[in-house]
Amino acid sequence: MREGVAYTGIPSAQELAACPGIPSRERMEKGRVAVIECVQEIPCNPCENACHLGAIEIGEQITNLPVLHEEKCTGCGMCVANCPGLAITIVDKTYSDTEAVIEFPFEYLPLPAVGDRVDAVSRGGEVLCQGTVTSVRKLKAYAGTAVVGIAVPKEYADSVRSMKRLKRR
């Protein structure tokens, strides 16, 4: 099977490597930062407007891929819930010695609670490991989207991007 987002719905390693929204390895090691996995030129720029720090740039031509100015990004997370494509996560590799935190948009019910153990999943929905919920935010500005944070073993920081849906009550 051919690789790449157009064939599988999952960006390939090459697509991610070429993506201007992904911070450098050095920046990732420094703590909270947005990881914008937007690899197709679609007409869309709410992430640029959501960032009050000017850390995300798209420009006049709104089909441009978002460029992350990683030195300006504080990992505040406003872009996460504002991306209509749900393509942004916040990654914090400095959470603890052994764990990283991934904060991702989550639009299903039920929501998990802080402290819950959940199945952490990859871009392909595969369960990679268990995660502990560190935060669940559903601000008014998020317009219905919740942002959930989970702590996972550090080695999964680049591959965990969501959690498995919980069974409806």
Binding site: V5, Y108, G124, G125, R168
Partner: protein, 381 residues
């Protein structure tokens, strides 16, 4: 039969029709919008995802919220909206036959804007007529507007944005989606929509088609099969799913009946869903005073439909003298810029090419033909 006279009559209270109504009425025109449904908003209120585009297109706002804002603007503008009202005919003298709440009306408008939208395509395969096989848009209406699950285990056919978005929304409503089937070798819609589906653990079977859907009285299961590059089924690749519902997201086609009735000339543009009316930059057709906007002019998406509605509304108001040429030009230029933005990028550029061809074909037509003028021809004025 009661007779109603108005400046602008608009068929369809969806994205395009309401936008046109707002523009024309706020410029000062007397506007009547007619829609056969009990509620206005067309398909906007079932769109619960955040829209793409830029701030000017209300990107990041969910479809239903955009619908509410648009309705409020229309209400403020003074446009009248008739619901439960069916336009059953458009006569050559531009008068419309309307049945509203059981009463028959003849609506005579100086300008008519047809914004009748599109309907979902059907796809034939063994079992495709079984109850439980339905349009993806139908399922979306059920879950998001009527708040009823059409089934518990669902197979989606088609990976365009409709197939991807409705699959996601079915899961949000509590259903299980077992997979998405796509005949082409590539996913049709945005990668970010496909990404949501994949993170939820749902496979997307590209290069596959529905082999059959089976069940006695309703859907009890479905079988898919891989296809080669010539779309022949490859034996031995079948997969069977235990599903109660199969949704078809295999494109839409414009609902052009009234446009044909009006005597407008057509183009054939497959990527727009087939036969689409010729129209110029003002959205005016080959019949003077008859405008079109939204999916009826070629299937695109809601944001483009709203902009086309804006364009038709401004143009109609200008033609009636409610806007100066200067003011109208300014607005039309802004609308065109927003449309061009939406029709760009790897998914949108093709729509721009198609739209430019449609408008070019209109101009070519006008080089050798005069626009039909109902006033001259029928009334002899």
């Amino acid at each position: 039969m009661r007779e109603i006279v108005t400046d602008v009559a608009i068929v369809g209270a969806g994205s395009a029709g309401l936008s046109a109504a707002y523009q024309a009425a706020s410029a000062g025109a007397d506007v009547l919008v007619i829609d056969e449904n009990a509620r206005p908003g067309g398909q906007l209120f079932k769109q619960i995802h955040k829209f793409f585009g830029s701030k000017e297109h209300q990107a990041g706002t969910r479809g239903f919220a955009i619908g509410e804002q648009l309705l409020a603007k229309v209400e403020q503008s003074g446009a009248k909206v008739w619901l439960d009202s069916l336009v059953y005919g458009l006569l050559p003298d531009k008068s419309m036959g309307v049945i509203s709440q059981g009463l028959n009306y003849s609506v005579k408008a100086k300008k008519i804007i047809i914004a009748s939208g599109a309907k979902e395509n059907y796809m034939a395969f063994p079992g495709s007529t079984l109850p439980g096989v339905m349009g993806a848009g139908a399922a979306q209406t059920m879950i998001n507007v009527n708040r009823v699950l059409p089934g518990e285990r669902i197979l989606m056919v088609g990976s365009g944005n409709v197939g991807l978005i409705v699959s996601y929304q079915l899961m949000q409503a509590g259903a299980e989606v077992v997979g998405i089937v796509e005949g082409a070798p590539k996913i049709g819609g945005y990668g970010v929509h496909a990404g949501k589906i994949r993170r939820a653990g749902v496979p997307i079977y590209v290069g596959h088609t529905v082999d059959c859907v089976f069940g006695e009285e309703e859907v009890e299961g479905a079988r898919i099969v891989a296809v080669d590059e010539k779309w022949n089924k490859i034996p031995g690749t079948e997969k069977t799913f235990d599903v109660d519902t199969v949704c078809l997201a295999v494109g839409l086609n414009p609902m052009t009946e009234l446009v044909w009735m009006a005597g407008c000339k057509f183009d054939f543009i497959p990527s727009f869903g087939g036969h689409v009316p010729l129209h110029d930059e003002n959205m005016e057709t080959t019949v003077k005073g008859v405008y079109v906007a939204g999916d009826v002019t070629g299937v695109e998406e809601a944001s483009s439909a709203m902009e086309e509605g804006n364009m038709a509304g401004v143009a109609a108001a200008e033609a009636l003298g409610y806007l100066s040429a200067e003011e109208a030009d300014k607005r039309k230029q802004q609308i065109m810029e927003r449309l061009n933005t939406l029709r760009s990028g790897m998914f949108g550029a093709g729509r721009r090419t198609s739209k430019e061809k449609q408008i070019q074909d209109m101009h070519t037509y006008l080089e050798s033909h005069k626009r039909t003028d109902p006033q001259e021809e029928v009334l002899g004025v």
